[in-house]
């Protein structure tokens, strides 16, 4: 098909709402309040380095936990009967149909000092524990909200792996652990990369989860950027610079990730 006309509406959309805003972000990042070119905005960000490090750390931890939880379940799902698969996928997606804010509020009432969990533990004469407003609560919120985005791509790749691949590995002397390392992992790599991307990217830039579950002590990049635009420290120039840096960080990380996924994998679909 040489006819590119049907792509036209999207191209207009893309230019208007993706390309132009992107240029604006870059423009503002290098512009001073007086309107001249400057690198000050980028230099100013260096004072926020701990927040950047913390954001990336928490996002990596959340991604790892999601992966560890999702990988076995995705495998088990892909090997079970079709009916069971459909039901389970529905259950995995079910929380996503609930409003994101509501889900996170739910965790607030559970984790609060006077919340349900502490009340229950109180009955057993344990605690109370400080759970809300900790880094742990933020990670929990990320894992809870983004876990389906890890399970689904892993599952869809694994469902395509023929059972005979696993049997062939066993046949050639692999025990369960070696089957996973030598065959299952390499064959499910595209799913792993998609899953990691889909959990890491929203986790590293979230501000709702950290605001609601992390309190004031657990500010992340997302919160910082938000403050530059509607918060007390109004400064869209610095905000744009922060967004730009975050974008570059993500691009670098995704680049590293997908370098694992070179052309070796194209034979997967046979």
């Amino acid at each position: 098909m040489k006819n590119k006309l049907p792509a036209f509406p999207y191209i207009v959309w893309m230019v208007a709402f993706i390309v132009v805003p992107l240029f604006l972000v870059v423009y503002f990042a290098f512009t001073s309040e007086e309107g001249g070119f400057t690198l000050d905005n980028l230099v100013k960000i260096s004072q926020y380095t701990p927040i950047f490090v913390k954001s990336i750390n928490l996002a990596i931890i959340a991604t790892l936990i999601c992966f560890v939880l999702a990988y076995p379940i995705a495998y088990i799902l892909s090997r079970s009967t079709e009916r069971y698969q459909r039901t389970m996928i529905l259950l995995v997606m079910l929380p996503m149909w609930m409003n994101f804010l509501l889900r996170t509020y739910g965790w607030m009432t559970l984790l609060e000092n006077e919340g349900l969990i502490n009340k229950f533990l109180g009955l057993l004469h344990i605690g109370p524990f400080q759970m809300i407003n900790t880094a742990g609560a933020v990670v929990l919120g990320m894992v809870y909200n983004y876990l389906p985005f890890m399970i689904l791509p892993l599952y869809s790749v694994m469902a395509k792996i023929d059972q005979s691949m696993i049997e062939a590995a066993q046949d050639l002397g692999c025990n369960a652990v070696k089957v996973i390392i030598k065959v299952l992992m390499p064959l499910s790599l595209p799913g792993i990369i998609t899953g990691v991307t889909m959990v890491f990217v929203p986790s590293v830039s979230t501000f709702v989860i950290s605001r609601m579950l992390g309190g004031g002590q657990n500010m992340l990049i997302g919160d910082l950027i938000e403050q530059q635009f509607i918060g007390s420290t109004y400064n869209p120039y610095v905000g744009s610079a922060m967004s730009l840096i975050l974008m570059v960080i993500m691009l670098v990380i995704m680049g590293i990730m997908s370098s694992f996924d070179d052309d070796e994998m194209e034979g997967l679909v046979i």
């Binding site: 046949d171 050639l172 002397g173 030598k182």
Partner: protein, 472 residues
């Protein structure tokens, strides 16, 4: 040959309440090329999976070199498999696929390299080391799969229809190559196929299977020349199979004509099946033998002609280098040792089924009810019904009296002899004999319709009569 390398004892396996394997007993000798042969669904692949450690029997034992290995997982068995669709690892190249098993066993790098390269030479894939497996042709993938299994020096190599995806010419080449490799390496091969020619070409021993049961075990010559029953005769090569009656030892009657044979021990006047291979029949000028008929069709097959002759109401298939004119009269001749008498799978020539008188002049059997005027039996009497095979008609399922499972079908010269299974009130399978001109797919459900007037009814207590049950 040496002692038993592998021994399967009473292997039974059910899946979803359906028996896949029913008391399989089979041993395999060292360095033997043994083939499991049968139509799809006969349990041959399941047997292979049990040997490989991918399926586990409900009952029975698997012995390897005298040790019970029922619970030994696949990765610990000295057995390797060539899978049906090769199951090569797409993320590895040819070399790494072949080296996979040796790397898992953490062999010395130099040793791995030596063995992999030797094996690639053996399967004619030298120079393909760095190729991606997805870029190979079917035949080449096949060779990689064989090399990947053989490089581990297994005691037994299992091959699950390995040539199924190849075209005819390549398949023939690979058959010979596989046989060569087997003899060269002296490894026991257990081969699964539904292709009888392949089995005859390659095997030392053929195991013919049907419905999870072994029908016959023997050398290719045994299985071809002395088939145990009509199923084996029909499955292995083309053949003339007829209903017959044993007059006495050495004398058999086919459709009213008597012939000499060399078989005995079937009992006087017993019903049997007879098989005569088409290449064992010769065509003579009309009148030269007792068996004269009309040529129905002549097909040139290259080396021979395939001629169909209608004699004494039956179609006879003949393969001969001599041609004949269509429509002309010819006589057929064969020697007594070419007449192979076999035990019938279905005892007798008519189905005998238990029924019950449910009301006045009304009889019910297998959930089917019919009326018979003048039946002077009291209600609730048990009766024995004799149902001639010609009184059953194969019809589409929505016009049928009963839906049954078509268990086997063999052409008997004038009709297809079908054995079908129907469930009775106690959920037990009863078999019925059907003669039909229809060709149906075996192992599927078909509809049948009875001509009730032809069914004979007798009180069940008559001595000497026996309900037709499936032969165990």
């Amino acid at each position: 040959m040496s002692e038993k390398l592998l021994d399967l004892k009473n292997i039974t396996l059910s899946y979803d309440g359906e028996k896949i394997l029913d008391r399989i007993n089979l041993y395999v000798r060292d360095k033997e090329f043994i083939t499991l042969l049968g139509p799809s669904g006969c349990g041959k692949t399941t047997t292979l999976r049990i040997i490989g450690g991918f399926a586990f029997p409900d009952e029975g034992d698997v012995f390897f070199e005298g040790k019970r290995i029922n619970d030994l997982p696949a990765y610990k068995r000295p057995i390797n498999t060539v899978f049906q669709r090769y199951a090569l690892f797409p993320h590895l190249n040819v070399y790494d696929n072949v080296a996979f098993g040796l790397k898992v066993k953490k062999l010395d790098k130099k040793e791995i390299d030596k063995r992999v390269r030797q094996m690639l030479v053996l399967v004619n894939l030298k120079g393909f080391e760095k190729r991606r497996v997805s870029k190979l042709s079917g035949g080449q993938q096949q060779r990689v799969a064989i090399a990947r299994a053989l490089v581990n020096h297994p005691k037994i190599l299992l091959l699950d229809e390995p040539l199924g995806a190849l075209d005819l010419k390549l398949r023939k080449e690979m058959q010979l190559e596989l046989k060569n490799i087997q003899q060269q390496l002296g490894i026991t091969f257990i081969y699964v196929t539904h292709d009888q020619e392949e089995a005859l070409t390659m095997s030392d021993t053929i195991v013919v299977m049907k419905d999870g049961e072994i029908q016959q075990i023997g050398t290719p010559q045994d299985v071809y020349n002395e088939p145990k029953n009509a199923f084996v005769a029909d499955f292995i090569g083309e053949s003339n199979i007829f209903d017959a009656t044993m007059i006495c030892d050495g004398r058999v009657e086919i459709n009213g004509v008597e012939f000499d044979c060399v078989d005995n021990g079937f009992g006087k006047d017993s019903s049997v099946d007879v098989v005569i291979r088409p290449e064992d029949i010769d065509i003579l000028p009309a009148g030269a033998s007792d068996l004269t008929g009309t040529v129905k069709s002549v097909i040139f097959k290259g080396v021979h002609y395939e001629i169909t002759v209608v004699c004494n109401g039956l179609e006879w298939l003949i393969q001969t280098t001599r041609s004949a004119e269509e429509g002309s009269e010819v006589s057929l001749s064969f020697t007594p040792d070419n007449v192979h008498v076999m035990k019938r799978i279905f005892e007798g020539f008519s189905s005998k089924i238990k029924g019950r008188v449910t009301a006045e002049n009304e009889v019910s059997f297998l959930g089917v009810t019919f009326t018979r005027e003048g039946l002077s039996l009291p209600e609730d009497t048990e009766v024995l019904l004799t149902i001639p095979p010609k009184s059953i008609e194969v019809v589409s399922e929505d016009h049928s009296d009963l839906i049954v499972y078509l268990e086997s079908m063999v052409y008997k010269g004038a009709y297809n002899e079908m054995i079908v299974w129907a469930k009775d009130e106690e959920e037990e399978y009863r078999s019925l004999l059907v003669h039909s001109m229809n060709d149906e797919q075996i192992a599927t459900d078909i509809g049948i319709k009875f001509r009730f007037d032809d069914i004979m009814i007798a009180p069940a207590e008559l001595p000497g009569q026996k309900g037709a049950e499936r032969e165990e």
